[in-house]
Symmetry: C2
Subunit: 330 residues, 2 copies
């Protein structure tokens, strides 16, 4: 089914408002485009060996905001994955221990439970594998896991919370369980019910015509080949050198020449509120990001109308921010 | 009126439970002690030139959590005045820009609207005067006010929020208004309804006998001479050199020899959750803090029973933490 001319599509939008409530999903002429996408579930897959219990989520929430597991005592996960800033930091490259600036832009933790590879270079497959990395990284929290565990044991409340979260463990305060609790908490940080999700679920008025045109360009020009699945990432790696970057990316993990300059496809969920963009965070706006991706990954120059449509579409991917509590730490 | 013998006081506690509801405030034998204190109001005095409007509080809340007004882009007021940690940081001395460690322990902002002097050395009289200091301090946020204002102007939302908060100003985004908004927000961060407040208001069962004994020692041994008023501080300055400190304190502000090593009386509200203690944060526990204060300020060695009673009393000063929202920043 083709794309209706614009004047017709506009009139169908009005018509579609009624049809959306009568159950038709064909009414706006974009049904084949919608078929490339899926709504974001409220929860990602939960691994068999890390049940998402309330006790683990509560403990993970505490640990996520806990700065005393950094060597300075003031940096927590929430420093760079700041809930006030789309659970990221909105600066080009992460700033960590003693103000050191890393090589890469902080990825949001929102919807990260839907990824099958973690970090820009995929050096962790799961959130459990990912969780401990920033604690130990010299330029992030700069804390040995041994010291972090010892510090947690100094408080009265953490032994109780770990015992409640891991009732089958004799000695529950350990690095594996820190990772499990943090991963569990992060699996609750999802953003369903974006306008795009509402559109995919049948509310054909949730997107305007420009946004639907952007969705069409997203499919037709090939973005969807990598940005697909519920979080709009395939969690795969592709070679790209964005302006200003000499980062060798996944090559540093695998040593495989094919991976030199390869980076993981980032999620596009909430992309409007997780600027700046690219592995080095050097791209400030969605317009620039779309142009760069067209040029570098798809070998095309988008017209300014296409850019505007694509950016309008990307703005519909901002979902409902997850509820959470700033914990009262010991 | 004297202090009733302990066996009698214990029986009067039971008796007092009934009397508390019949309106008597004399029933537990500590009425003259209670008379030295006053409950914490829900709001501190509001200055005539900075009305506490919802728009100012909302803007101040945003600015309090805004890290982009630091030169690194990751340090906000909330980094050291962390709501997860009693609106302080629970480390000995503040860690700021590039991991620099300051000379002094971070004071909590809770109830700071009740102080008539700000900072350990009183170099600001009001919260408005205080608010900009940490933004500019080289070892804290390390940002010139000019740059901070410029950065705020880059966002679409801040000009609107400043205009709403300061509707009479032609050019509302300026340093004075940043200070006013931050001060306004901080005036909402109060902790009424501690057990001690409930006790002062007539619930004579809100404190147990040991805690009342601690209150009595607090008065009889002289703590209350400086720790008085709603926030249990007189906001005055006294000479003290605590273990490990060579900080000259208020002398660095006034140049007055009488102020060498003088520091402001800190609030005792929420003291149990705002450890560690003293101007250099070198004192980890309330027990040590009580012993040091007895020795240095009152010239006496408290017995271990007195220390326990005083510490028990201090624990009753933890109030209800203020509600607030982590803002969605632009």
């Amino acid at each position: 089914m083709g794309h209706a001319p614009k004047f017709l599509a506009a009139s169908m939008v009005c018509f579609g408002a009624a049809l959306a409530f009568s159950g038709s999903a064909l009414a706006d002429g974009y049904d084949t485009y919608r078929g490339h996408f899926e709504p974001l579930p409220t929860l990602p897959p939960i691994p068999a060996d890390n049940s998402l219990t309330p006790e683990r989520v509560e403990l993970g929430n505490m640990l996520f905001f806990e700065p005393r597991i950094s060597s300075s005592g003031v940096i927590s996960c929430a420093t760079c994955h700041n809930p006030a800033l789309g659970w990221s930091d909105r600066i080009p490259r992460a700033v960590g221990h003693e103000g050191q600036v890393g090589e890469r832009n902080t990825p949001t933790v929102l919807n990260s439970g839907f990824f099958t590879a973690q970090f820009w270079d995929g050096r962790a497959a799961t959130l459990e594998e990912q969780a401990l990395g920033p604690i130990e990284a010299d330029i992030e929290m700069a804390m040995s896991l041994e010291d972090a565990i010892e510090r947690l044991k100094e408080f009265d409340v953490y032994p109780k919370k770990f015992a409640a979260a891991f009732p089958d463990d004799d000695d529950p305060i350990n690095a594996d369980n820190v990772a499990k609790a943090l991963a569990g908490f992060q699996r609750t940080l999802n953003t369903p019910n974006s306008r795009f999700d509402r559109y995919l679920k049948g509310d054909l008025m949730a997107l305007n015509e420009q946004e639907k045109q952007g969705m069409k360009s997203f499919v037709d020009s090939g973005c969807v080949a990598c940005h697909n699945g519920p979080a709009l990432t395939d969690s795969q790696f592709y070679r790209i050198q964005v302006p200003g970057s000499e980062d060798e990316g996944r090559f540093l993990v695998t040593g495989d020449e094919a991976d030199r300059f390869a980076f993981k496809t980032p999620t596009l969920r909430n992309i409007a509120v997780t600027y700046p963009y690219m592995n080095n965070g050097a791209t400030a706006t969605l317009e620039e990001a779309v142009e760069i991706m067209g040029r570098e990954m798809l070998g095309r120059e988008y017209s300014s109308e296409e850019v505007d449509d694509l950016v309008a579409f990307l703005h519909t991917l901002t979902g409902e921010m997850p509820s959470f509590e700033v914990p009262a730490l010991p």
